[in-house]
Symmetry: C2
Subunit: 276 residues, 2 copies
C-alpha cells in the first residue's frame, strides 16, 4: 500500500538507491525523483529502476511528500537549509546519515516534520553500482527523535521502516552517536590502523582471519573521514578506551602473565557470544 | 599414490583431524593412528573416519613413517622429547604449530628428520567437531627449515603439502614468527581488545562490520594465550607498531585534520587491496 505519493531522494548512492529500489519493489510510493551531485549516478539509478526520474534542480522538493537526505554526512545540513523553504505543508524529511546528534540538533528547528534515521545496513562498498533492493530486510533502523520531533511524522516513519523489513529502535541522537562510536566508527578506525601497521613484505603471509578483520579498511576515505569527524568526541573516547584494552593485553604479555591473558581473552569470548 | 605407510597424528583436533581426513581422501597413507589427550576426541576422530585407530600409548610411534604433532603449541616440544628415542630410522616428524622459532630451534637437534610446518588454514572454531577434509585445498602452508633440516625429508614434506592441495612457502622460522605476529597474532589481539572495549549496553546496536571484525575474538583463550606467549617479543613489537598507527589516527581526529585523516584512510585502502 502506498505510504507516500511523491518521493525525492537526494543522494542516489548505496543507501539512497537501495531505498528507491525497496520502495518500488514494495509499492510504497508514487513517483520517485532522484538527485545526485554526480548526474551520472542519478541517471544510473534511473536505468536500474531505483528512481523514476533523474532531476537536477532542488525545486523538485516543492511537490514532495517525503524527502530522503542520503548524501554523505557533511552535505546533509547544507542541503536541508537549501530546501527548507520549498517544502509543502506536511512533507516529511528524513536523513540516513551515520551520525545523528549534529544533524538532528540543526535540522529539528529548521524543518517541522524532520525525523533523523540511521539504517544499520550497508557495506564497505559505496555507490550505486553496489546497491540492492533488499538490504533493509532483517536489518535494524535506528530512529533518533528529539523533544521537537513531530509525533505523527515519527510514527509514520517508524511504520515506513517496518514496511521495508527493518526492525526499528528509537533512541536519542546523543545515545546513538555514543553507541555507534563504539560499535561502528571505532571498528573502522581499528581496521584502518591495523591495515596500516602491517609491513608490506608480510602481506603474502595473510590468513583469512586478517582479510576478514581488515575488510572494512577498504571503505571510502572521503565518507569515513566525514563520519569520524562528525562524531569526533565520542570516537576519541572510544579509541581511548580501546587503547587501554590493547595496552592491558600487551602488559599481560610483557609480564608473561598467562592467567591474566586468559582472563582477557575469555572476557572477549563471552561478549562476542552476545553478538551472534 | 601412498606417500607414507604408518602415520601417527598426535592431537586429533581441527588441524590434526582435517589432516587425517585429507590423507585418507587422497589415499596418501596407509594406516592412520590417532592420539589425543582427551580420549573422547580420538574416538570421535575414528568415528568420522579421520583416523583408522584411536590409541592411547605413545609407543605407537615406533612403527610410524610419519608423525604429525598437532597439539597446542605448548605441548609440542614436550611430546617430541618423549617420542624422539622411539622413532625408527627414516621416520619423518612434522609439527603444525602456529609459531615456529622456539619449536624448530628445540626439535631440529632432537629429531633428525624433523620439518616445521604451519598450514595457514583453520578458523576460530577449535576441535574435531569443526574439522573438514578439504581445508588445505587452495591454502598456503609455510615450511620453516633451519640449517639442520634434512633436505630429503624437507622435499618429501613439500610434496606432501602440495598433494594436499596447498601452496608451499619456504621461509626461516624467524621470519615466519615475525610475519605471523603481524598478519595473524596481532589481528587476534586487536579483535580481543576491541571486543573488550565495547560497553555491554551498546552491543544491541551492532552492524555486520563489527561482527566481522570481532569474529576471531571467539577463538579459544587457552590456545591463543599459548600462541601469544610463544611469540611474545614479535607480538609485542607488532602491538607497539599498531599502537602508533591508532594513535596517529586519533591525533588527526583530535586536531580536526581532515586532510591527514584521509591520507591515513587511503593508505589503508591501498594496502587492503593487495590482500584480495
Amino acid at each position: 500500500m502506498k505510504m507516500f505519493n511523491n518521493v525525492v531522494i537526494i543522494g542516489t548512492g548505496l543507501i539512497g538507491g537501495s531505498l528507491g529500489l525497496s520502495l518500488k519493489k514494495r509499492r510504497l510510493s508514487g513517483t520517485i525523483y532522484g538527485l545526485s551531485l554526480h548526474q551520472r549516478n542519478a541517471k544510473l539509478a534511473k536505468k536500474i529502476g531505483a528512481i523514476d526520474k533523474a532531476v537536477k534542480d532542488l525545486e523538485v522538493v516543492r511537490s514532495a511528500d517525503l524527502v530522503i537526505l542520503a548524501t554523505p554526512v557533511d552535505s546533509i545540513i547544507d542541503i536541508a537549509a537549501k530546501i527548507k523553504d520549498k517544502l509543502k505543508k506536511g512533507c516529511i524529511v528524513i536523513d540516513v546519515g551515520s551520525t545523528k546528534e549534529k544533524i538532528v540538533c540543526r535540522l529539528d528547528p529548521l524543518i517541522s516534520n524532520f525525523v533523523g534515521c540511521h539504517p544499520l545496513a550497508g557495506s564497505e562498498k559505496k555507490g550505486i553500482v553496489n546497491l540492492g533492493g533488499d538490504i533493509f530486510t532483517g536489518s535494524t533502523c535506528i530512529i533518533t527523535p528529539s523533544a521537537l520531533t513531530n509525533k505523527k511524522a515519527l510514527n509514520k516513519i517508524k511504520a515506513f521502516w517496518v514496511k521495508l523489513g527493518a526492525q526499528v529502535e528509537v533512541i536519542s541522537p546523543k545515545k546513538h552517536d555514543q553507541a555507534l562510536a563504539c560499535t561502528s566508527h571505532l571498528a573502522h578506525a581499528v581496521a584502518f590502523a591495523l591495515m596500516n601497521s602491517i609491513p608490506e613484505n608480510f602481506l603474502n603471509f595473510s590468513l583469512s582471519s586478517l582479510k576478514e578483520v581488515t575488510r572494512i579498511s577498504a571503505s571510502d576515505p572521503g565518507l569515513w573521514s566525514q563520519i569520524f569527524l562528525s562524531n569526533r568526541n565520542n570516537l576519541l573516547s572510544a579509541i581511548s578506551s580501546f587503547q587501554n584494552k590493547i595496552a592491558a593485553l600487551g602488559l599481560a604479555l610483557k609480564n608473561n602473565d598467562k592467567k591474566f591473558l586468559i582472563k582477557i581473552l575469555k572476557s572477549a569470548n563471552k561478549k562476542r557470544e552476545r553478538l551472534g
